[in-house]
Symmetry: D2
Amino acid sequence: MKAVRIHKYGELPVVEEVPEPTIQGPFDVLVKVGGAGVCRTDLHIIEGQWAAAMAPQLPYTLGHENAGWVQEVGSSVTNVAVGDTVILHPTPTCGLCRACRAGQDMHCTNSSFPGLSGDGGMAEYLLTSARACVRLDPTTEPQDVAALADAGITAYHAVRKAIPLLHPGTTCVVIGAGGLGHIGIQCLAALTATTIIVVDRNPDALKLAEQLGAHHTVVAGGAQVDKVLELTGGGADVVLDFVAEQGAENDGFRMTGSGGSYFVIGYGGTLQVPTLDIISTERNIIGNIVGTYNELVELMVLAQAGKVTLHTITYPLDAAVDALKDLEAGQVRGRAILVP
Amino acid sequence: MKAVRIHKYGELPVVEEVPEPTIQGPFDVLVKVGGAGVCRTDLHIIEGQWAAAMAPQLPYTLGHENAGWVQEVGSSVTNVAVGDTVILHPTPTCGLCRACRAGQDMHCTNSSFPGLSGDGGMAEYLLTSARACVRLDPTTEPQDVAALADAGITAYHAVRKAIPLLHPGTTCVVIGAGGLGHIGIQCLAALTATTIIVVDRNPDALKLAEQLGAHHTVVAGGAQVDKVLELTGGGADVVLDFVAEQGAENDGFRMTGSGGSYFVIGYGGTLQVPTLDIISTERNIIGNIVGTYNELVELMVLAQAGKVTLHTITYPLDAAVDALKDLEAGQVRGRAILVP
Amino acid sequence: MKAVRIHKYGELPVVEEVPEPTIQGPFDVLVKVGGAGVCRTDLHIIEGQWAAAMAPQLPYTLGHENAGWVQEVGSSVTNVAVGDTVILHPTPTCGLCRACRAGQDMHCTNSSFPGLSGDGGMAEYLLTSARACVRLDPTTEPQDVAALADAGITAYHAVRKAIPLLHPGTTCVVIGAGGLGHIGIQCLAALTATTIIVVDRNPDALKLAEQLGAHHTVVAGGAQVDKVLELTGGGADVVLDFVAEQGAENDGFRMTGSGGSYFVIGYGGTLQVPTLDIISTERNIIGNIVGTYNELVELMVLAQAGKVTLHTITYPLDAAVDALKDLEAGQVRGRAILVP
Amino acid sequence: MKAVRIHKYGELPVVEEVPEPTIQGPFDVLVKVGGAGVCRTDLHIIEGQWAAAMAPQLPYTLGHENAGWVQEVGSSVTNVAVGDTVILHPTPTCGLCRACRAGQDMHCTNSSFPGLSGDGGMAEYLLTSARACVRLDPTTEPQDVAALADAGITAYHAVRKAIPLLHPGTTCVVIGAGGLGHIGIQCLAALTATTIIVVDRNPDALKLAEQLGAHHTVVAGGAQVDKVLELTGGGADVVLDFVAEQGAENDGFRMTGSGGSYFVIGYGGTLQVPTLDIISTERNIIGNIVGTYNELVELMVLAQAGKVTLHTITYPLDAAVDALKDLEAGQVRGRAILVP
């Protein structure tokens, strides 16, 4: 089968032929990929940022955001059957550690992360486990929803954690209205009555944000912190930072009001904050990574009710490198999806 | 009356005669001071660290940690009467803003902070408001409990926020077993069954920590992060940092495990954290400042049940400067209390 | 001034002349009434159901749901000024007890309840306290929002408590689409993405419910429990019972699914449940009464954003008895409002 | 092997020979039973109370509270190995339904309940699943901890849910100081600083309660409600009812204060409460059943730290009927344990 493989950090991946994966254990599930999202994290992987943390053996296949159809199942799989349309939680988990037993899939001590720790889903087939499969309405087109598997779940997870802080009368700043941010805005609009303020340097992204539910938009270009402080009367209750690099991370903390919470979702930068600033206003900095299996299920409910709509551009699998280049160049509105 | 007054930042305060404060409004309460705690924040005030944030008019009287007896009350005060023994919440609040109406005294938009924003309680009398007064059992000696008014409430507030994270089987690191930390350890022991690990550079402080409930102690002197990672199997569920300066702040974050929370309580340093480290392990950084009125009441219940005992050294009010010097020199175990 | 006064339980109240109330204390506020809601509780008061609990001295003025304009203020009032448009929290509170200091206005140990414990607002003027006043946009018409002061806050309070239970994919049953229920439905639609199922015996009320956001409606007339169990696949995650009398209370519990919560908001009936049924499915029964001051503020934000719209019928103050009769006869859609 | 089998509801079970169970699936675990607790629920099973809900095929083996040693494991079991000492969560769960994915083992839609729905552990061997096994320190004696598998987890689960309500200064009533209650008291003492009031009709049970941490005890015998109202100043913050039959259920609700919560843990009676009483004081009635896998792990931490000690009487497996009779006659202090 065809797969998008990284051979060396710092070099673009290559689309090449590899053998199809095969079922090994009783809980394995082989999925025919219908859509594979292209993520900023793929760029970071290529740069080598995840090499130390994930330590995959090169070469390997990229792709951690997938939906498709079940092709084959292991002997003990009961929750999906051959032919089912599925979206895949990005981290197949063990189901036995304390985190799994608490529903905190992200903190499973024995999980894998296909596309980061080993072969992922920018390919015709992906091997995953029963625990990663969310069964969908059979009419769902995998390429339409694939981006919910990582961009979506990550944005939803952060918004869901913020809901208790976002009663009517509060303000929530969204930094970055791209692949994740444009989903986050829709989740906020569907699940809260907070005032949504979106910050992005791209005016087109801000236009999309307004259509999706933003009440105010701010062009990032120097005065964004002051503008937000003015709009919020001194700082937002919650800041969701989908960028968290190139200075956004320190802006984001400064946009956060007294008693408020700054949610880090993007990454790449370094936060620098005097502890006096943290305590004198009792602000919080909240880490966020992916989301739980149940959160992915909930997000699919929102999507199937039409409350979250993805803005995507599809590329054939062969054009994976073009998609990566377009993303890097800031030319993707919403999310790029590879279709094998 | 005598009062400990600061005339110029960078210079030690002076004990001098000033007029007694007088009741002005219907909710004012005049308190005869029985004990006034000496706090690291007083040193920071003298250095000028709080000048910008609080903007008090110099000279003014220090002291934000007080207990005593009600001397006189305004016309509408109903919750305390002349002669009552009281401990004082450090920030008299308005009672009308959203934060006050939610019980979040720390975030009152109209509060004062006697001893920081204006005349405090290192004096014979202190003017405060009915909303700041917690009535105590009449047999209580104010000098025995004064340190609970700020050191105590601050430590208790942080511990109380951490309780939901500290089920049996978790680990909690306490950085700094001084004025606040030694109270925090007792609160942890009274309210959780977590494993308590205390880090301090002073072996005597660690000995006290063990008597108060610490399960493990670690001398800070270079290898403290590795030692904690070893004791916790890769990081604690909660780190309570009562120091948060001179490198403790970055140590504290590194001591925090996956999915864990680093509580900033002390201050003075600057936290520097790559956003990748925040998201990849989904860690939180939690600001903490003082506590609510109800938390002070709860802490007094613990104190009166003998579950929190203060380690104090008393000084006469005239010796205030000695107390400040001893604190700076690291020669105060527990808390120094001025007795007018 | 004119006032609607109850002289004897079991007899209809009388509209008669009484002296205007006057400012007594520094925090008193005299409000010129712009609208006074007519509530099922007024019928219950007339029947004598509240006589023992509230022990008002007869005769007294009914009315616990008011908005209007500030006419005069006590000497220490700072949060409102003469001429302000205000809506009134139904229970002026002390601000000093533990409940008040935690923001739990409903549990104030020293509150009054004008209209239940003493003179209320079915009159030209109402005496209340600064702590009860929520300042509104000056263009607001009091008669348009008065019903939010009690029906609204009560419905909102229950919905707000239920939000953490109502993630996407859940179901919420609303029993009763009348004065409170029609507000509850709108709050659910504004603040959650749950599937809303409304049960009422009146087809017109159900039609209104659909317009306000109900996904399914069920006519109460014998088969309502089975119908709900079928729609929810065995029971709802949350049941909000705005009736809780005449059998609705036992229906409501039976409509609640495993691990679910039955919210009692209406009253009058008697719940009868085997403890085995409570534990075998781990269901909860949640009491609800009025709401907090901050919740009223939040609800006004929703109202001013157009997310909660009241369906009201106005009557002149002189026609108070007609309004009560119409309510009893089930002829009021939404809420009846007296306009002095 | 020998097993305690029920042949007909209303008749005592019989100790008889049956074939040993055998491993069937990849996740099965066969446990050599070291201790099997005898529970009030066994009496209720014999009476037929659970026949409809659980529908087991008669005859079957009783016993839902077990610890022992792993005898054999299925091909895919990774979390325990032959020879391990284990305590067993009472309901082996599927690991795939929403409840399991949220850590809510009690609400698994595909769980079994050995001893209620099919063969249990009053036998020499018990067949369970990998998901039910909690590995223990190898020095643990199964008969010493078996009662934690059901009595313990149930008491702990209720206490853990109550912790956020039990800050210092609150009161908690425990009704019933028997098998579950005597564990609940210890959990309260280990994890909160609440004032513990224990109600039981047996003076010996109350004496034990005092040794385990009760601050006040009340003999149930007519005046218990008034006595508790007096001790609590009008009602407790939390009532944990481990009896919930023979009138305790209505007493328990009446002992609950304004804004408080009545936890139903025992069962057998019928709660009868006017909805007016639920709403006027905003009280809650909270269902409780067993607990989560992680809660059992946490409880074992408390037990191994010596914070929860079981009071048990052992009987040989052959004497199972004697143990059941003693329990029924109220002659068991703490918990009866069968040792095969």
